[in-house]
């Protein structure tokens, strides 16, 4: 059944990438990967994209204010997260790609806590990726 593995590409008509509702490559630069370690100053639980604001302390002591694009909060709300779930001051590590125009904006390709735990993983509904029910 290995040919099926390529089905996603087979079905990609007109060369359109199989990806999000808009091509992230349109906005974020694959040639500008970033790894940011910072503290959360604000989490905007909004659609179409939730935005996480973090302060990143540079080696010279200055602080950069970054804006990290994430997904729809509705998925998280269904797993029991609320807007109080991420406290300001929480330290996070963002592994992503910087905005093509060079501004301090990145997509949150992988967002973890310093202990390696993925941010917002878990939750308490059948839909949670790591819940017992979803392991059926």
């Amino acid at each position: 059944m290995k040919p099926i593995a390529a089905l996603a590409l087979l079905l990609a008509t007109a060369g359109m990438p199989v990806s999000a509702h808009h091509a992230f490559a349109a906005e974020f630069d694959a040639k500008k990967p970033v790894k940011l370690r910072g503290t959360v100053t604000k989490m905007e639980w909004i659609n179409p994209h939730a935005w996480m604001h973090i302060d990143v302390k540079k080696e010279d002591g200055s602080v950069e204010e970054w804006m990290v694009e994430t997904g729809t909060p509705n998925t998280l709300l269904r797993r029991g997260f609320t807007r109080d779930s991420l406290k300001n001051g929480t330290e996070v590590i963002v592994d992503g790609y910087q905005s093509k125009d060079g501004s301090l904006r990145a997509n949150g390709r992988d967002v973890t806590l310093p202990n390696g735990q993925v941010l917002f993983l878990g939750g308490n509904s059948a839909d949670a990726p790591d819940s017992e029910k979803s392991k059926k």
């Binding site: 059944m1 079905l11 008509t13 509702h21 091509a23 490559a25 659609n47 059926k136």
Partner: protein
């Protein structure tokens, strides 16, 4: 990204979680089986479809080439099929190089986990007619329509290159005008929820994105006049036994964008909603447009009642659509720096 692009995602990014018992047969449960079961009814006597339903699945819209002519897989084949689809669709892969990786956007748990599961009946495509599981060949296009299609493709190309001219180069979903609420309903990467409401003489479907409601009168009134066009079309319904049959016409198009490039004057949809059991509803749609396809085609997608602990939430979109400005100011900044692509 235009509806074609959306369909591409929908083809490969849909999921149904088998929260209940597996259906052993390939075909949907027969009408006879439905009649046998005591289908719930509303107090005023209509079949009861009320509640919040989810349609996510990884089963692609069109049958992939690798499966040959098979429309239904054995249990063993289905395991592999699902595994391969999950591997392709999961966002938690980091392989393929940065060009591929950036488009995976963010961690998989921001998406609907149910989109990584194939349908319980192990079909290899959502399309059930034509029998090859693929969209029929296209009808010849007039030069005018071909020109419109090319203009749309050029706008998409500018957008994908990060150099849109104006907001008009963005797709309707990016502009927050319509999204999954425009029928026919197709599974997508997240927020695959549909809240069905009923009252005497009406069925009203409220999809999560983008917060709209489609009212379906059941009293046999005619469609709107031909000079009234709507993004969601104009729907009329009636009951055929336990099945709600909905006919939708009167579509509009702005900037040349419609469902898969169809012609709004001649495009029509027939949908069938049948509650199969307490937690399952069969959604089937037939689309036809002689100006776009040589024949109509039909797809069937199972909908599952969501966990009662879950809810459908408001999906406001235009209100906080910062990216509209990001895309445009980003393009202007790059043009200034002389970046052609």
């Amino acid at each position: 990204m235009n509806r074609l692009g959306i369909l591409t995602f929908a083809i490969s990014v849909v999921l149904l979680s088998p929260l209940k018992a597996q259906a052993p047969k390939a075909a949907a449960k027969t009408a006879a089986a439905v009649k046998k079961s005591a289908a719930p009814h509303t107090p005023w006597g209509d079949p009861d479809l009320q509640g919040v339903w989810n349609d996510a699945t990884s089963t692609p819209l069109q049958r992939p080439g690798g499966v040959g002519a098979k429309d239904v897989l054995t249990d063993e084949e289905a395991v592999d099929f699902q595994k391969d689809l999950e591997h392709d669709l999961t966002r938690d892969r980091r392989d393929g190089g940065p060009e591929v990786d950036v488009n995976r956007a963010y961690n998989d748990h921001w998406m609907d986990a149910r989109r990584l599961k194939i349908t319980a009946d192990h079909r290899t495509s959502l399309i059930v007619d034509p029998p090859d599981g693929r969209i029929p060949p296209p009808a010849p296009q007039s030069p005018e329509r071909e020109k419109a299609r090319a203009a749309r493709a050029a706008a998409n190309a500018r957008f994908n290159a990060g150099l849109p001219d104006s907001y008009r180069d963005f797709s309707l979903p990016v502009r927050c005008i319509i999204r999954t609420d425009s029928p026919p309903y197709l599974p997508t990467i997240y927020n695959n929820d549909f809240h069905i409401f009923q009252s005497p003489g009406y069925v009203v479907i409220a999809p999560e994105m983008i917060h709209s409601a489609r009212t379906i009168p059941l009293d046999g009134r005619p469609h709107l006049g031909k000079n009234l066009h709507q993004w969601l079309g104009d729907s009329r319904g009636h009951w055929d036994g336990n099945t709600l049959v909905v006919e939708t016409t009167n579509f509009r198009t702005d900037d040349g964008v419609t469902f898969l490039g169809t012609n709004p004057e001649t495009f029509r949809i027939t949908e069938r909603f049948t509650r199969v059991d307490a937690d399952t509803l069969n959604y089937e749609f037939t689309v036809e447009d002689p100006k776009t396809w040589t024949k109509p085609w039909t797809a069937r997608i199972p909908w599952t009642k969501i966990d009662p602990r879950e809810q459908m939430y408001e999906y406001a979109c235009h209100e906080d659509n910062y990216d509209m400005v990001h895309f445009l100011t980003g393009a202007r900044a790059r043009e200034k720096r002389g970046e052609a692509k």
